[in-house]
Symmetry: C2
Subunit: 149 residues, 2 copies
């Protein structure tokens, strides 16, 4: 998804992707901000510390206008695009991971290349992931008073 928060088709794909990775023991975060200024639609952290980024493409136009996706590889060990069942898969480069998903789950079509992060980057990304997840969780338990019903 390009900018803003996930909505419509993209939000459904995100849910299915998170279900898939959660079932495999990963913790998942939506819209994880990166130092580069971009946001990862889904970032998943595995039991052995593996970091996965999944970029959701709601349709061909969304894919064609995104020229910056290779930047995500600096922040993960594996990168995937996730698309709906009706997305024309031939558009997606062959050397990138691909997942087909809907609201209820996801199935990998192909694994992307593994490009293992350097230790210092992995440590930084994991630590930011942990603090962000905890901050968001804390906001559900003790929400800021600025937002009143």
């Amino acid at each position: 998804a390009a900018g803003g928060s996930l909505s419509g088709v993209a939000a459904g794909i995100a849910r299915g992707v998170c279900r898939h990775f959660s079932a495999a023991g990963y913790g998942c975060l939506l819209e994880a901000p990166l130092r580069s200024g971009r946001r990862a639609d889904v970032m998943a952290l595995g039991a052995a510390g593996e970091i996965v980024i999944v970029e959701i493409k709601s349709g061909p136009q969304d894919f064609r206008t995104d020229r910056k996706w290779p930047d995500y590889r600096e922040f993960c060990d594996r990168f995937f695009f996730a698309v709906g069942a009706d997305f024309p898969q031939a558009l997606i480069p062959k050397d990138v991971g691909l997942i087909v998903a809907d609201r209820y789950g996801a199935a990998p079509v192909r694994e992307g290349p593994h490009h293992k992060l350097a230790g210092s980057r992995r440590k930084a990304v994991s630590l930011s992931f942990a603090r962000l997840a905890a901050l968001r969780l804390q906001a559900t338990i003790d929400p800021p008073r600025d937002y009143c019903v």
Copy 2:
């Protein structure tokens, strides 16, 4: 707090402790399960990766019946007890960190000793913290269907 989930006075102290550490840039988790089988009332993870455990004592009896608190030191760089303003502070050993808290915030009375975790343990604790926070957060977004209203 000894066993079970936090309630009453302990829950209020936990909220104040989390506000204190959140304001200092830490991500906080309540009731973090440890490999030892115990749970840390509050676990906080700092920007530089520092791991803090805070054990809440709702009253003198709760403190006197807890003989296992030194075990927590294996899982953190710093350990604190947190108590309410009316707790008799003389009961708490002098060589342990102490925080006084209520629902609205917390103030450290004394820093405990720093006992820096070994790298492998720090990595394991941080990774578990990250995945647990993300799993709990995910459950607020996409709750398991077993729990219906």
